[in-house]
């Protein structure tokens, strides 16, 4: 930490310049419209409008993204845990080769797949009915908020697991072995020994997932009907139907505040950790 911060600024300058030139500057053009009244002058009227029309959608978005992030976290830890601590070689090998595939499917395709998979008469229900595990009449469509969450989790679990399993693999095996030798169950080793050491990676993965899910348009658009819906759909709708960039950008500001909060929570945690270390 003793090095001059000038050098640090020099190192970060290209990245900052890129964000500045390719996002901040162009965003400035349209962002100003979110804060100006039609006649000119500062105004928060577009935020009023955004709130009046989309308050439900803001809550809905928060609910979807937070739930998906939590589920993603739990599942990624489970899978990465089995990969690291699993003692059944065939299971670990199978899992390692399986879990990654959704990573390569773009969101828009994932949405398309899920739309036909999760529907009432979709492939999932048809298979379950075909296996005699369910009566056809019991089949219900999951194409609503549940569909969105399932798609997000399906897509993001491999992302977080990929980062997490890597971090776990590079832990000192001796500590884990010692824990096992002391007779601790694998679950305890995972939660008490492994997880604290990779919590950093987990959190980064979850923050990035959170922000990514917040920005996806195709999934809420294609998987679920539009009442209520996520903010990205509302933004696209404001622009495409009314050419109303002001309200769309006001929603953008709200969405950025939400992702900023998630990042801030992570960074605070980080600072505390460093202080404690």
């Amino acid at each position: 930490m003793a090095r001059p911060s000038l050098f640090g600024l020099l190192l970060i300058a290209p990245a900052l310049a890129m964000i500045g030139a390719l996002f901040l500057y162009p965003l400035g053009f349209s962002l100003a419209s979110a804060f100006t009244a039609p006649g000119g002058g500062f105004s928060l009227m577009h935020f009023d409008k955004a709130y009046e029309l989309y308050s439900t959608d803001i809550l809905f978005t928060l609910f979807i993204v937070i739930t998906s992030t939590i589920l993603t976290g739990i599942l990624s830890v489970t899978i990465a845990g089995i990969l690291t601590l699993g003692e059944t070689p065939w299971l670990v090998a199978a899992l390692r080769n399986l879990y990654r595939w959704p990573l390569f499917i773009p969101f828009i395709v994932a949405a398309q797949c899920m739309r036909t998979f999760l529907a009432k008469n979709g492939l999932m229900n048809n298979t379950i009915v075909g296996m005699g595990l369910m009566e056809p009449l019991q089949a219900t469509s999951l194409l609503d908020w549940r569909g969105i969450i399932i798609t997000f989790v399906w897509k993001q679990v491999p992302f977080v697991t990929l980062m997490l399993a890597g971090a776990m693999a590079s832990l000192d095996r001796a500590t884990i072995e010692a824990g096992r030798n002391l007779g601790a169950s694998r679950l305890r080793v995972l939660i008490e020994l492994v997880l604290p050491q990779v919590s950093q990676t987990l959190l980064v993965g979850l923050v990035l997932s959170f922000v990514t899910m917040l920005s996806v348009l195709s999934v809420p658009m294609m998987v679920a009907g539009s009442q209520p819906t996520m903010l990205t759909v509302d933004m696209a709708f404001r622009i495409n139907s009314y050419g109303d960039y002001a309200t769309a950008n006001a929603l953008g500001v709200i969405s950025y505040l939400i992702s900023g909060m998630a990042a801030w929570i992570y960074l605070r945690h980080n600072v505390k950790r460093e202080a404690a270390a």
């Binding site: 990245a15 879990y99 500590t175």
Partner: protein, 299 residues
């Protein structure tokens, strides 16, 4: 394994170890449990595989389905008609694919070139408003992309960057910075400072320390971020449209049109084609990584 954002085992690991009390498992009925366990594992794996590949099975089915409608549970007739449509001479699928892959590779290079130093600075050096800077990099994900790209296009038109690969790569790279900067920062933060100090003590220059100690240790994380940047670029279409079209057309543009419009066959085939470079890139990276990790073992 890729994605090695590791925290090196710290002293805290050993203290935690001491807290674990021995709870010897009972030996009785072990065989029963192990049999039951295997059945459970197989079942669990089967359910997992079903949930994982079920949606993908749809993709494959649609790519060869020529007719599929209610009340039929599976396609009524199969065929390769739509593959012929995608690969027809006027379809330009292959050249768009080549363009997409080239752009994605260049994007990875550009994104890594700027985010490795940035990540190092964010993790190791004293920076004013570090938190604010980190949050700044999330910006590209939050706002409606159309609103940003129309203005980028306006700027690029006056610079003559529209319709060039350079322009598209820049736009994609800026978008990928979210992943590469954040992950690089985390990867550098996880490198053990003691190792760097040791190198400095035996007389290595700061630059040499960085290239021989810090960078290799952070490499797995950086490579993981490369994969995400690659995939992000391969899926991007809004920026490509505003900055690249009509001179530069990529495969996701076709995919987007087909998928949003419900042309399932075309969309599924395009997605399957895009799967090839994604998986290849992952394999290449893993090869590269494994060699790297192995070389460290000998040291």
């Amino acid at each position: 394994m890729t994605g090695n954002l590791h925290t090196l085992p710290s002293a805290s690991g050993h203290t935690r170890l001491r807290n674990l009390r021995a709870e010897a498992p009972s030996a009785s009925g072990a065989r029963f449990w192990s049999f039951g366990g295997t059945v459970l594992k197989i079942l669990g794996l089967a359910v997992f595989a079903f949930l994982l590949f079920g949606p993908l099975a749809n993709l494959v089915l649609w790519s060869v389905a020529e007719r599929w409608y209610t009340p039929f549970k599976l396609p009524v007739s199969y065929g390769t008609r739509y593959w012929e449509v995608v690969f027809r001479p006027t379809g330009d699928a292959m050249s768009s694919l080549m363009t997409s892959v080239s752009i994605a590779c260049l994007t990875v290079l550009v994104a890594l070139a700027v985010s490795v130093p940035a990540g190092y600075a964010l993790a190791r050096l004293k920076l004013p408003w570090r938190t604010a800077l980190m949050i700044l990099f999330l910006l590209p994900q939050a706002f409606p992309s159309v609103a940003i790209y129309i203005n980028v296009a306006r700027v690029f038109y006056s610079l003559g960057l529209t319709g060039t690969i350079t322009g598209v790569v820049l736009v994609h790279a800026a978008h990928g910075l979210v992943y590469s900067v954040w992950i690089a920062a985390a990867a550098f933060a996880a490198v053990d400072r003691d190792l760097e100090l040791a190198a400095r003590n035996i007389g290595a220059s700061p630059l040499r320390t960085f290239f021989t100690i810090t960078l290799p240790l952070a490499m797995p994380g950086i490579m993981a971020s490369a994969i995400f940047v690659f995939l992000e670029s391969l899926d991007e279409f809004t920026g490509t449209f505003f900055v690249g079209v009509p001179q530069v057309t990529t495969l996701p543009l076709l995919l987007y049109n087909a998928s949003m419009g419900g042309n399932y066959q075309i969309a599924s085939i395009t997605a399957l084609i895009l799967l090839v470079p994604s998986v290849l890139f992952m394999i290449v990276i893993e090869r590269f990584l494994k060699a790297d990790v192995l070389s460290k073992v000998g040291q």
